[in-house]
C-alpha cells in the first residue's frame, strides 16, 4: 500500500506519467531554486516513504516541533509585526515608532547607524559622514531615553539589531526602562548579539572572537538571572543569506553558530536549560517560495533534535527554535521599485507558512534609501493583509504532508547535517571562521549566482528581463538631514559638560578591571550607562583589554 493507493496501479500510473512527461517539450529553464537546488517535476508518496508522522513531524508544540513551536500558533496569537526602523536622530526615530504603533505594529525593532554599530560616538573621526544615515544615532542613555519617549517599555517588546556593542545598548535600554519605572524582569525584547555571524557575513565586529564570546556568556548569565523575558541572542541567518549564501548554507551556518553558543554557555558553567530557552533565531525569507518553507521547518526539527540528544536539554523550552524573519533585501531591485512590494508579499507569505514568530517586511524603496513613511506603511499592511484576509492563519502548518514540502524539508536537513560534519572536521565554528571556510563558501555562492543572472539563467524582473524603457524613478526617497551629525556632536558636548565626570571616570576604571578579570561585566556596564558614559567611551576601555579584530582581505 502506498498512501492508501494500490501499489501496482500507482506504479503503472507513474510509468505512464514519466513516459509522457519525458516526451513532452519543456521550457529552456533550469527549474532550480534561487539557491540552484534541483526541483523535480513532481513529488509523490515515493519521495516520503520513510516519513513517520510521530518521529519526523509531531504535532505543533510537540517534539520535534516541525509543525510549529506552539500548540495554537496563529490561532492563538499572530506573529509579531515588527518593522526594523531607525534613521537620523533619536527624536526622528521616536516619531516613526509612534507612527508605526498607531498603524498596527505590534513590537519595536531598532536600526542603529554605522557609528553606533561599530562602537564609535557621533563625534569620532570615523563617524564623519555616517551619522544617522543607516539607522538611528545612539551615543548614550540620553539618546535612548529620547528614542523611547512616550513608550512604556514594560508594555511592548523591542528588538535591537546590535552585535559587538550589544551589552552596552542593552544596558542603555534597561536603564531607560528603569528610569521610566519598569523593572528589569518586566522588560522583554531581543538583542541580536550574534557575533559569530559578524565574522562570517555582516562584518560589524569590534573585538576578536574569544573576548566577544566572553561578553556573550556574561550576557547569557546576567539575563537569565535578572532579565528573564529577554532573548539574549538572535542567532542569525539573514545576513549570511544576504551576503550570497544558498538556503542550505543559511540553515547550516546559522544552526552551527547556535550550537557554538550553546557549547560556550555550557563551557562557561551555565546549565543549558538556564539560558537556552532565551536563545532565538533570525532567518531570511528569500525568493523561492517553497524552499524557504522547507528551510524553516527543517530548522525547527534540527534544533529540537540536537538540543535534546546532544546537549541534554530537559526543559522543553530549550528545544524550541523561535524565530524572527525578514524578507530578503538582496532580492529587491532599484529598477521598477513597485515590483518590490510584490516580492516582499510573497516572501512574507512563505515566512508565515513556515511558522515565524515575528516578521519584518521590507519597503519598496530600500534599494535606494531608508524607507519613507508611506513605503513602510505598505510593508506593514502587507502583513496585515496576510493575517486578516488570506485565511492562511486558519490552520497550523498547512503544507505538512505535501510530498514536495516534506521531501524538501528532509533534504535540507540532510544537507545541513553534511555541513555540520565539515565544520566539526575543521574544529568547530570559530576555527572554521579563522580558516575562512564560511566566507569562501558564501563568496563562491554569491559569485555563481551573479554569473547565472548575467547568463540569463536566473531572471530578475525589471533588470535582466521585462525592463522598462523609461526607468525614471518616480517615488519619493527619504533623505537624512546633514544637520543630524552636527546636532549629535552638540548633544555630546552638552552631555559631557552636564554629567558627573568623576563618576564617569571611576565607572570606566571599574569596567577596565572587570574586563581584565573574570567578573561579569554587565552590572558594571549598567553602572556606566546610568552615569551617562557614552558608547564610545565604554568601547574604548574594552578595546584596551580585548583588542580589535581584523579580517584578511580575501575575495
Amino acid at each position: 500500500m502506498i498512501d492508501g493507493k494500490d501499489e501496482s496501479n500507482f506504479k503503472k500510473a507513474s510509468e505512464k506519467f514519466w513516459g509522457t512527461y519525458n516526451n513532452c517539450p519543456v521550457q529552456d529553464l533550469d527549474f532550480t531554486t534561487v539557491s540552484s537546488e534541483q526541483v523535480n517535476p513532481i513529488y509523490t508518496p515515493d519521495d516520503v516513504s520513510e516519513l513517520q508522522y510521530d518521529l519526523d513531524l509531531g504535532f505543533p508544540g510537540q517534539y520535534p516541533f516541525t509543525r510549529g513551536v506552539y500548540p495554537t500558533m496563529y490561532r492563538g496569537r499572530l506573529w509579531t509585526m515588527r518593522l526594523f526602523s531607525g534613521f537620523g536622530s533619536a527624536r526622528d526615530t521616536n516619531r516613526r515608532y509612534h507612527y508605526l504603533l498607531k498603524h498596527g505594529q505590534m513590537g519595536l525593532s531598532v536600526a542603529f547607524d554605522m557609528p553606533t554599530i561599530m562602537g564609535y560616538d557621533s563625534d569620532h573621526k570615523r563617524s564623519e559622514g555616517e551619522v544617522g544615515k543607516c539607522g538611528v544615532a545612539i551615543d548614550s542613555l540620553r539618546d535612548m531615553e529620547v528614542l523611547f519617549d512616550g513608550i512604556d517599555l514594560s508594555g511592548i517588546t523591542t528588538s535591537m539589531t546590535i552585535n559587538a556593542p550589544a551589552s552596552i545598548l542593552l544596558a542603555f535600554y534597561l536603564s531607560a526602562g528603569e528610569k521610566k519605572g519598569s523593572r528589569f524582569d518586566q522588560m522583554g525584547g531581543t538583542i541580536q548579539n550574534d557575533i559569530l555571524k559578524e565574522y562570517i557575513a555582516q562584518k560589524s565586529w569590534i573585538f576578536p572572537p574569544e573576548p566577544s564570546m566572553r561578553i556573550i556568556t556574561d550576557i547569557l548569565a546576567f539575563c537569565s538571572n535578572h532579565v528573564p523575558k529577554w532573548n539574549t541572542i538572535s542567532i542569525s541567518g539573514y545576513h549570511i543569506r544576504e551576503a550570497g549564501s544558498t538556503a542550505v548554507q543559511e540553515l547550516a551556518f546559522t544552526l552551527a553558530d547556535g550550537f557554538a553558543y550553546v557549547e560556550a554557555g555550557i563551557a562557561a558553567g551555565l546549565d543549558v536549560d538556564a539560558f537556552a530557552p532565551r536563545l532565538s533565531f533570525f532567518f531570511n525569507s528569500h525568493l523561492d517560495f517553497f524552499e524557504e518553507i522547507a528551510k524553516f521547518r527543517a530548522a525547527r526539527r534540527i534544533w529540537a533534535r540536537r538540543m535534546k540528544e546532544k546537549y541534554g536539554a530537559k526543559d522543553e523550552r530549550s528545544l524550541l527554535l523561535r524565530f524572527h524573519t525578514q524578507t530578503a533585501g538582496c532580492s529587491l531591485t532599484a529598477q521598477q521599485p513597485e515590483n518590490n512590494i510584490v516580492r516582499t508579499a510573497y516572501q512574507a507569505l512563505s515566512a508565515v507558512l513556515g511558522g515565524t514568530q515575528s516578521l519584518h517586511t521590507n519597503s519598496m524603496d530600500e534599494t535606494l534609501a531608508l524607507p519613507t513613511e508611506k513605503a513602510a506603511t505598505i510593508a506593514l499592511r502587507t502583513q496585515q493583509l496576510i493575517a486578516h484576509e488570506t485565511g492562511v492563519i486558519n490552520t497550523i502548518d498547512p503544507l505538512a504532508g505535501s510530498y514536495f514540502i516534506e521531501s524538501k524539508t528532509r533534504e535540507m536537513e540532510e544537507k545541513a547535517e553534511e555541513y555540520f560534519e565539515r565544520i566539526d572536521e575543521l574544529g568547530g565554528v570559530v576555527k572554521a571562521i579563522e580558516k575562512g571556510f564560511f566566507q569562501r563558501e558564501i563568496g563562491k555562492a554569491a559569485y555563481r549566482y551573479q554569473k547565472e543572472v548575467e547568463a540569463g539563467r536566473k531572471v530578475i524582473v525589471g533588470v535582466n528581463r521585462f525592463r522598462s524603457d523609461d526607468d525614471e524613478l518616480e517615488i519619493p526617497l527619504l533623505k537624512i538631514d546633514q544637520r543630524v551629525e552636527e546636532e549629535q556632536k552638540e548633544s555630546l558636548k552638552k552631555l559631557r559638560s552636564e554629567r558627573d565626570n568623576d563618576k564617569v571616570s571611576r565607572e570606566l576604571e571599574r569596567l577596565l578591571e572587570a574586563a581584565r578579570g573574570a567578573e561579569n561585566i554587565m552590572p558594571v556596564i549598567l553602572d556606566c550607562a546610568r552615569c551617562y558614559c557614552t558608547e564610545g567611551e565604554i568601547i574604548g576601555e574594552l578595546k584596551k583589554v580585548f583588542g580589535e579584530y581584523q579580517e584578511p582581505p580575501l575575495f
Binding site: 544615515k133 543607516c134 562584518k203 538582496c330 548575467e454 582581505p553 580575501l554 575575495f555
Partner: protein, 131 residues
C-alpha cells in the same frame, strides 16, 4: 596585448557590505585584470596609500552606507595632494541619482548602481585603459 589593468577595489568607511565588492573583484580578475582588494573599514588615507603603493590605474569605491558624499571627495583630494591624480575613480553601491551628478562634478568617472552587469564594468575599464 598590453600590461594588465591594475584595479584597487576598496571599502571606505564603516560599511561592512562586501558582497558586491567581492563579486566585482572576482569578475575583474577573471577578465584578466590585476585586482587588489583593500578589505573593510578603510579610511580614505588607507585607500590612497594602498592605491599608490600598489601603483594601480584605477580605484573602485564600494559604498552602501550613505557616506559617499564624504568618502569620494576625501579620496580624490588625497590622491591630488599625493600627486596621484592620474589614478581614476569609479564606484558602486547605494548612491542616489542626484548624488551621482555631484560626484561626477568632483571627478568620479562612473557609478555602477544596483543591477549592474559586471560585463559593463569590465567593458568600461577596458575602454578607459586601452592602448
Amino acid at each position: 596585448m598590453g600590461t594588465k589593468i591594475r584595479v584597487l577595489v576598496a571599502k571606505p568607511g564603516l560599511d561592512g557590505h562586501d558582497r558586491g565588492a567581492k563579486v566585482v573583484a572576482n569578475a575583474l580578475r577573471d577578465a584578466g585584470m590585476e585586482v587588489i582588494y583593500t578589505g573593510l573599514h578603510q579610511t580614505p588615507e588607507m585607500i590612497v596609500e594602498s592605491a599608490i603603493q600598489e601603483d594601480v590605474d584605477v580605484v573602485g569605491l564600494s559604498i552602501l552606507s550613505g557616506a559617499h558624499l564624504t568618502m569620494f571627495p576625501r579620496v580624490i583630494k588625497l590622491l591630488k595632494e599625493k600627486g596621484a591624480e592620474h589614478i581614476k575613480i569609479f564606484g558602486g553601491g547605494i548612491i542616489p541619482d542626484e548624488d551621482i551628478d555631484r560626484l561626477k562634478e568632483i571627478g568620479v568617472d562612473r557609478i555602477f548602481g544596483p543591477g549592474t552587469d559586471t560585463g559593463d564594468i569590465i567593458g568600461y575599464l577596458k575602454e578607459q585603459f586601452k592602448e
